[in-house]
Symmetry: C2
Subunit: 197 residues, 2 copies
């Protein structure tokens, strides 16, 4: 551990940790109950802060939701730095592991439970588009990159949804290696742009 971790936290460090705790609590509640049903007070209780502090840090519930969703779908650098080969497999592993590890925190559930609210829906759309689809399309390049990136998002979403929400067998309980064998080839075709389209 560095000196920073061992030493007494200063006010700046505290503020960063508090912000992170608020975001985590917000994400948890939005995933569980959906945008409409969640109040600032619930988030404040879970984050162990005063509701007024949330307003001071983030401004409003809408702004807080926007910040949660800007991170919710963000395509990590580790996917892309691994290169084009095997990207289909890495994406399947990521979605499957995430779903297994922590159902309550999944952005898929937030989408599902908040997507019908008009305001939240447009924030979700923007988060998924700017955080995932557009960067992936730029990175993929080649013919029809935005369509291919959209189809990758659509395939992953369908998979997460079948496993987490609909839970129809045998997909719901299939282990990760099996899912990779089943879904990665279709994703990799979109990555490589190898289907005639």
């Amino acid at each position: 551990m560095g000196q920073d971790e061992a030493g007494k936290p200063g006010p700046r460090r505290n503020a960063v940790a508090t912000r992170a705790r608020i975001l985590e609590a917000a994400r948890f509640h939005f995933a569980r109950a959906g945008y409409d049903q969640v109040g600032m007070r619930q988030i404040a209780v879970t984050a162990r802060v005063d509701a007024a502090l949330i307003v001071r840090y983030f401004g409003s519930k809408e702004a807080l939701f926007r910040e949660v969703m800007a991170k919710g779908f963000q395509l990590g650098d580790d996917f892309l730095s691994g290169g084009r080969e095997g990207l289909g497999e890495r994406l399947v592993r990521y979605v499957a592991a995430k779903a297994g590890a922590n159902r309550d925190m999944d952005p898929v559930l937030i989408l599902l439970r908040s997507g019908s609210n008009e305001q939240a829906g447009s924030i979700l759309r923007q988060g998924l588009d700017e955080g995932f689809v557009q960067p992936l399309a730029r990175w993929l390049g080649g013919n029809h990159a935005p369509e291919r990136a959209g189809l990758i998002a659509s395939t992953l979403f369908g998979l997460a949804f079948m496993r987490e929400v609909v839970r129809i067998e045998p997909l719901a309980e299939a282990d990760i290696d099996r899912l990779v064998a089943l879904v990665a080839p279709a994703l990799q075709r979109y990555v490589d742009g190898s289907d005639p389209a």
Copy 2:
């Protein structure tokens, strides 16, 4: 037209028409607002019947929802009677046309807006499984048919969701022929069982 259509409707004919009208009204409201938010009275008003009649015909809101969902995902005979060749294309056309024609009545929206209610979720799961995934798996046959059928459902759901709910371009506004070119090959591979898995 047969005599039945031209003649004065008898009580039996009336009952059939009334049941159909109630089911249509229920489907409309469940798709718009989700299972939790819909009351018998709203459905009765739209169907132009007394709420007590709905209870007499269907028993309860849960039973009504079950009946709506048993039909919501039903795989039509026309898909399968067309044979294996081109089934991927027919399924894409069906989902795309349905979404375009009548957004408010789509079972995808019902799934989305009712899936987080535990009771409704289990009815939805059963409707999708018994109405679509299982019959498709039996018809497909061959290796891993239940997984392939599940992946077809997952792919179609992802597509409908991206178009109807998330509405990210260019997928959201892509015309049907374009969608067929983009998605049918992946579906057809699941139909044919041609990916190594």
